[in-house]
């Protein structure tokens, strides 16, 4: 027994599993209270109070919501592709969860599941796989509105993925590493948002589009597409899409904090690192909700024009500027 435990492979796997389980349950809790926060903030933005009946201040509302989802009837449209209809909601959650495996939550190596040396690429890979959930969900429902919603979303996500990937290259040039821990360590004096303001703006704009949040929530534009790609989904399958969307929001905000806002860097002893991370993450999450309840939805052609004609050239310009500045700085 002791021999098995002293094997470094076994130790690594067990530790990784423990961290994965912790993150999974933490995320479920964070998502349910993020939805509560969204409803509360939305209420106050619209001069209402938001949920306030279930428990003190409505704090048990998320539990009630989840229970309600569980007791809803499962419905599947006739002639839907059954297997893909079941797989799509799972695909919505998995890429978001995998992203958390490379996010450094604190300075200690124990606070990151695996510090792989291509962490940033893993994030981009997972965000590019997120399209499948929506496309397949829309297609397998055998419903015109769902199909159109899925198609819109895939076109949108492919377009904005490019600008998002390019906007991270400025950070890469400055940090000289693809590992997210090294990128955070490189920001111990100055956060990269100081040197990369343009990249930060592009990243955040594309983040709204990648997560299908307003003002880029065209895939589920209610007025024209009913509920978009999840029109035919009900009960916990709908819940999984919801969960996936909010997990994606958290994941993308965590990456934004890591790349641009110094990650766990902050004043005070290193033990406070995780606190700083959570604080910055909360500010970004609040901005996501704020924007959703403040801005109207874009039209489809406006969205495509913004992505291809504004954000993509701006991201390319940012790479050139950063490269020139770094070259000039090192050859002075």
């Amino acid at each position: 027994m002791t021999q098995i435990w002293s094997n470094p492979d076994v130790q690594f796997v067990v530790w990784a599993l423990v961290k994965i389980v912790v993150i999974l349950f933490a995320m479920l809790g964070v998502v349910s209270y993020l939805i509560y926060a969204e409803r509360k903030i939305a209420g106050h933005i619209q001069a209402r109070t938001g949920p306030n009946r279930v428990g003190p201040l409505g704090l048990f509302q998320p539990i009630a919501d989840v229970l309600k989802l569980f007791f809803k009837e499962e419905f599947m449209p006739a002639e839907a592709n059954k297997v893909i209809f079941h797989i799509a909601p799972i695909l919505a959650v998995v890429p978001a969860l995998v992203t958390f495996s490379v996010v450094p939550f604190g300075p200690s190596p124990a606070l990151v599941v695996t510090d792989v040396n291509v962490g940033l690429l893993l994030f981009l890979a997972m965000s590019s796989l997120g399209v499948y959930a929506i496309t397949l969900g829309g297609w397998s429902s055998n419903n015109k509105y769902a199909l159109l919603g899925g198609m819109r979303s895939s076109a949108q996500m492919i377009s904005y993925e490019l600008a998002m990937g390019l906007s991270t290259i400025g950070v890469l040039i400055l940090a000289g590493s693809l590992s997210l821990s090294s990128i955070v360590a490189a920001q111990s004096h100055w956060w990269f948002v100081v040197f990369q303001p343009l990249a930060f703006i592009i990243f955040m704009l594309t983040a709204f589009a990648e997560t299908n949040r307003a003002p880029f929530d065209l895939p589920e534009a209610e007025a024209e597409l009913v509920a978009g790609f999840h029109t035919e989904y009900s009960s916990m399958k709908f819940g999984m899409f919801f969960l996936g969307e909010f997990m994606n929001v958290i994941a993308i905000c965590a990456i934004a904090v890591t790349l641009f806002l110094g990650g766990w860097n902050g004043p005070g002893p290193p033990g406070l690192g995780m606190l700083w991370f959570v604080l910055k993450l909360s500010v970004l999450l609040f901005c996501f909700i704020w924007v959703r309840w403040t801005f109207p939805r874009l039209r489809y052609d406006q969205l495509m024009n913004l992505g291809w004609k504004v954000l993509l050239p701006a991201a390319l310009l940012n790479i050139v500027l950063t490269a020139v500045a770094v070259y000039w700085g090192s050859h002075r």
């Binding site: 492979d9 592709n81 297997v83 893909i84 792989v116 040396n117 291509v118 690429l121 893993l122 981009l124 890979a125 590019s128 796989l129 399209v131 499948y132 496309t135 397949l136 297609w139 199909l147 899925g150 198609m151 895939s154 076109a155 492919i158 993925e161 990937g165 693809l178 590992s179």
Partner: protein
């Protein structure tokens, strides 16, 4: 542990590749191809080719296959149930080509031939081989790298020209949406 993971990924790769060609539903075939790309990325990761592995997922699984799915869904392709001489001919050619490739593989494996110089050690494992790859691309392989990018640029321009040409020349056959066409 690496061997066990390799066998797992390789088995998944072989199984999903077979299902790509054997499954009758085109959407399922495309999805199995995505699975095949992901297993291949896993194998790359096991060989410490992290950059290639991730780019495999970003480019092939995340971008190209999504466009494949797009086309399949827009055309609403049904189950592959056509028959006739054309299909038989295509199938026959496929079997011949597959047999030739398989025989080639077996022959090369039996003689222990490799398609390039074998380097037993992974260079620069600690820093990750992304840096090594970048260095090689921009020094030793600079010319092929630039030629590739030029080819891609030509392809982009070609697409733009084709798309433009259709909207102006096609105005005779199809009513233009605006007054300028």
């Amino acid at each position: 542990m690496t061997e066990a993971l390799f066998i797992g990924f390789a088995a998944m790769l072989v199984a999903s590749s077979l299902l790509v060609i054997l499954h009758r539903n085109p959407v399922a075939s495309a999805l199995f191809l995505v699975l095949a790309f992901c297993s291949l990325a896993g194998i790359y990761l096991l060989f410490h080719a992290e950059f290639i592995g991730m780019v495999q997922i970003i480019v092939y699984a995340g971008a190209i296959m999504v466009l494949f799915l797009f086309v399949i869904m827009y055309l609403n392709l049904q189950r592959d149930e056509e028959g006739g001489v054309h299909i038989a001919l295509r199938r026959g050619l496929g079997w011949v080509a597959g047999t030739v490739v398989l025989a080639e593989g077996v022959f090369m494996l039996a003689r222990r031939w490799a398609p390039g110089p074998l380097t037993p050690e992974v260079p620069g494992e600690a820093a990750g081989n992304t840096q090594q790859l970048g260095m090689l691309l921009f020094s030793r392989y600079l010319f092929p790298f630039e030629v590739t990018s030029l080819v891609l640029l030509v392809a982009i321009i070609g697409v733009v020209v084709i798309a433009k040409g259709r909207s102006t020349a096609g105005s005779g056959t199809r009513p233009a949406p605006g007054e300028d066409g």
